[in-house]
Amino acid sequence: MIRFTAIRLIEIAAMLVLMSFVIYGLIGLMPGDPIDLMMAADPHLTSADLARLKALYGVDQPLLTRYWAWATAALHGNLGYSRLFAAPVTATLLPRLANSLVLMGSSFVLAFVLSLGLGIAAARRPRSRFDAAVNFGAFAGVSLPTFWLALILILVFAQVLHWFPASGMTGAGSGDLADRLRHLVLPVATLTIASIGGYTRYVRAAMRDALGQDHIRTARAKGASETRVIWHHALRGAMVPIATILALSFGTLVSGALVTEEMFAYPGMGKLIFDAVMGNDYNLALAALLLATAVTLAANLAADLAYAWLDPRVTLR
């Protein structure tokens, strides 16, 4: 397992280097230079200003030169400055990352816990009314457009009931824990409802499959309690495919949820990445996207390791 992990870590490092180049190149190939945009907005700018600003922001150099300069600095721990936010990339990124982890982490845990319960319950009673209701709810959750769901929640719980604020992360001049939690309720609910359907479908299918296995019948024949059968024997087998889905979802923890963030004016990573890409803010976009890539790759490694732990038949080589 140590050898496997070491090889995978080397692969991840190589993949990150490759991705950094690909992302940098893709942003560089996008039409619309930021300085040209400044020029379009300000008729007073002359061609001399243009040249001066391009040199100042470093966009007058060839793409490869810029990438090499960035990579060298990044290897020394310097991710550079964000052109859009006029601040170091880390100082810009970290608060947004923390916001996203809170938002996405809460909804992720909530959605997973609920879908585990619902999926298992539905798998235990296939083709029952409850199973049909869960299936219907799951499909509805998957089908609902996030922006619409967000609007409905704002309408009901902010506009009509005045229970929760409609937007933001904290109230003006406030920011204590209770205030932050109140602001989190609606965006977390939106993300949870939007993702719970998909997870529930996976959990139900995996549990249905696991409950039909020979070793489950054997466990029951040996007189194991239903609770033990479900939670000890069946769930462990079902967790293998579920772990893959969870691992793939981990990237979203740091890449944010653009639509939800925009609807609730929540300053998270989704909006930050979108603005950075659209604003040709190379340093910021690169750091944010690489972070999301790294987390996804690391989560996949964790999932691979989890397979071996969950299923003794799996050997890591």
């Binding site: 008729p43 243009l50 100042l56 601040a87 704002i154 005045h162 604020p165 933001g168 992360m169 925009e262």
Partner: protein, 568 residues
């Protein structure tokens, strides 16, 4: 009966979805009729659609920043709600009559002007330090430095030098005399006592300015409010500047929320999270009109026509568009009055030239092009584009009359108008292919590099703003000038060049008006672009707010926040 039964079941403790659903319905019903919480209105929450990233007034001019700075910072001069130039930070506008403006002869033979300003005696930064000529000298130093990333470097190039008379009075020596010579609205002071250390390395200034690293430092602001909290990407809180000597700020706190999605902005308004939507940075007109229909009775909605001129640029490098008859036919084939009526409820004025009717230079005595599809078809026939049985038009050499129409993708209003244009032009035999692009691509690449055929977008200007950048032949963007200039259509008319050159230095009001009229007639005759309408901004205000007067020009209403009040 059914409800009674459910209620009885609930009372008995019967569980089930029906009981829960019933209670939820009751709750929603009751909550809907609850009286709104009484408010004393000592706070105001404003929604805008963009977050101002960094508040340094001299680096990167964006509308959201101007709006916020309107509350916190006083420029020397601005155009007020009546489009009259006024002093905000100075005591008196320089003029030749009061001796504060003096014509000078420059060594190169040109005429310059020396302008003397005096800073208001009570002008003070938010940390109690007086605003002085030291700030003027420092701001000039920053503006002149080529590494400082100042956006309006042209202003500082025009100021040859600064002479300081005392702590409050200074003279700017300009290299030219223009009609609005006293307007120095882009010369926005930076607090030297705080910003000088950040400017130690000019190339690093944009990264080290306290407006970015310490935006809640009270000493950065000299207006009625100061920034007390800035949650990046979310909201900005403003509180009264304790050292402000002008009229008392009307609110204990103003919170500006950035909500980019207009549907969410509307929902926030209805939920009471925000009290108003700023017209300068708020709902697009079509969405404001829809909101007005649904909830207009609960708010005061002001529609203010402004200086934003919506038009279709015709790239004159495209052979078919180089023919004036084709451009005229395109304009005659459009029922602009119907577009404005049906899509914008007549809240926007149809444009016949590029000058807004409220502008001093406006004249209506220009060629008008009312909807006339028959004449449009006649012109196209004359231009050699013959009608075909399938409804299209072809030239003698078999080319089809077809253009690509581009606008900003995602701009709902423009996309709606674009479809109408396509439909109306198809009726006169002009095929239109729609190819929309994100704003960053359209304005960063397609328009400046002249890679379009027809492009629909808007120009924003100041009152009596000479159209040099958009119509002068020296302003045609090309590779050899680094794609500078906004004359993307490639309009090259020596007569228009002469009018613009004369306009910039003509001081006599009557002669200026005549020159403006000439420019508008020439534009409406040549039609380098197709005028559509002048855009209006929609201000959605709470019923209890009084005194807010939209300017319609580039200066935001927030500059006059001390005129705002709560209705008794």
């Amino acid at each position: 009966m059914q409800l009674t039964r459910v209620l009885r079941e609930c009372r008995r403790g019967a569980s089930g979805l029906r009981c829960v659903a019933f209670l939820l319905v009751i709750l929603l019903f009751v909550a809907g009729f609850l009286p709104a919480e009484a408010a004393d209105h000592d706070e105001l929450s404003i929604g805008i659609v963009q977050f101002p990233v960094m508040l340094n007034p001299d680096i990167e001019a964006v509308a959201a920043k101007s709006y916020v700075l309107g509350f916190t910072t006083r420029p020397f001069t601005v155009f007020d709600v009546d489009w009259k130039l006024v002093c905000l930070l100075c005591t008196e506008l320089p003029s030749f009559e009061n001796g504060r403006a003096v014509k000078t002869q420059l060594p190169n033979g040109k005429t310059g002007v020396d302008l003397t300003y005096t800073i208001r005696a009570d002008a003070t930064w938010g940390d109690g330090v007086p605003v002085t000529t030291d700030d003027v000298k420092f701001t000039y130093e920053v503006g002149r430095n080529k590494d400082s990333a100042i956006s309006n470097a042209e202003l500082y190039r025009r100021i040859l030098s600064v002479d300081v008379e005392n702590d409050k009075t200074f003279t700017l020596h300009f290299d030219r005399l223009t009609h609005e010579y006293a307007a120095i609205d882009d010369f926005v002071l930076l607090p030297a006592h705080l910003e000088r250390p950040a400017f130690a390395d000019p190339a690093q200034y944009r990264l080290r300015t306290l407006y970015g690293t310490d935006p809640t430092n009270p000493g950065l602001y000299n207006g009625p409010y100061r920034v007390s909290e800035l949650a990046q990407g979310s909201h900005i809180v403003l509180e009264p500047n304790p050292h402000w000597a002008g009229p008392k700020p009307p609110f204990r706190r103003i919170t500006i929320h950035a909500i980019e999605n207009s549907a969410a902005l509307e929902a926030n308004l209805l939920s009471g999270t925000i009290d108003m939507v700023a017209g300068e940075m708020g709902l697009p007109l079509d969405e404001a009109l829809a909101f007005d229909k649904r909830h207009g009775g609960d708010f005061t909605i002001i529609y203010k026509p402004g200086l934003t001129f919506e038009h279709v640029d015709c790239n004159l490098a495209v052979p078919a568009l180089a023919d004036r008859r084709v451009r005229e036919a395109l304009l005659l084939g459009l029922d602009r009055a119907a577009i404005v009526k049906s899509l914008f409820a007549d809240r926007q004025a149809v444009a016949n030239s590029f000058v807004e009717p409220l502008d001093k230079g406006f004249t209506d005595d220009v060629p008008h092009y009312a909807f006339d599809p028959a004449k449009a078809q006649q012109l196209l026939d004359q231009a050699g584009w013959h009608a075909q049985p399938d409804g299209t038009r072809k030239s003698d050499d078999g080319k089809t009359l077809s253009f690509e129409l581009t606008t900003t993708a995602g701009n709902h209003s423009r996309e709606l108008v674009e479809q109408v244009l396509q439909s109306q032009w198809t009726k006169i035999g002009v095929s239109i292919r729609i190819h929309n692009e994100p704003a960053r691509v359209l304005f960063g690449e397609t328009v400046p590099h002249r890679k379009f055929e027809l492009a629909m977008y808007a120009w924003s200007s100041a009152p009596e703003n000479e159209p040099r950048s958009i119509f002068h032949s020296k302003e045609i963007p090309a590779a050899d000038n680094g794609y500078a200039g906004q004359n993307a259509v490639g309009y090259d008319n020596p007569e228009m060049d002469r009018i613009i050159d004369t306009l910039e230095t003509e001081l006599d009001t009557a002669k200026r008006k005549a020159l403006w009229a000439e420019a508008q007639v020439l534009y409406a005759t040549d039609l380098p672009s197709l005028p559509l309408y002048f855009r209006s901004d929609a201000f959605v205000l709470p019923k209890w707010l009084a005194g807010l007067r939209p300017t319609g020009n580039q200066y935001p209403s927030s500059l006059w926040v001390t005129d705002w009040s709560v209705k008794p």
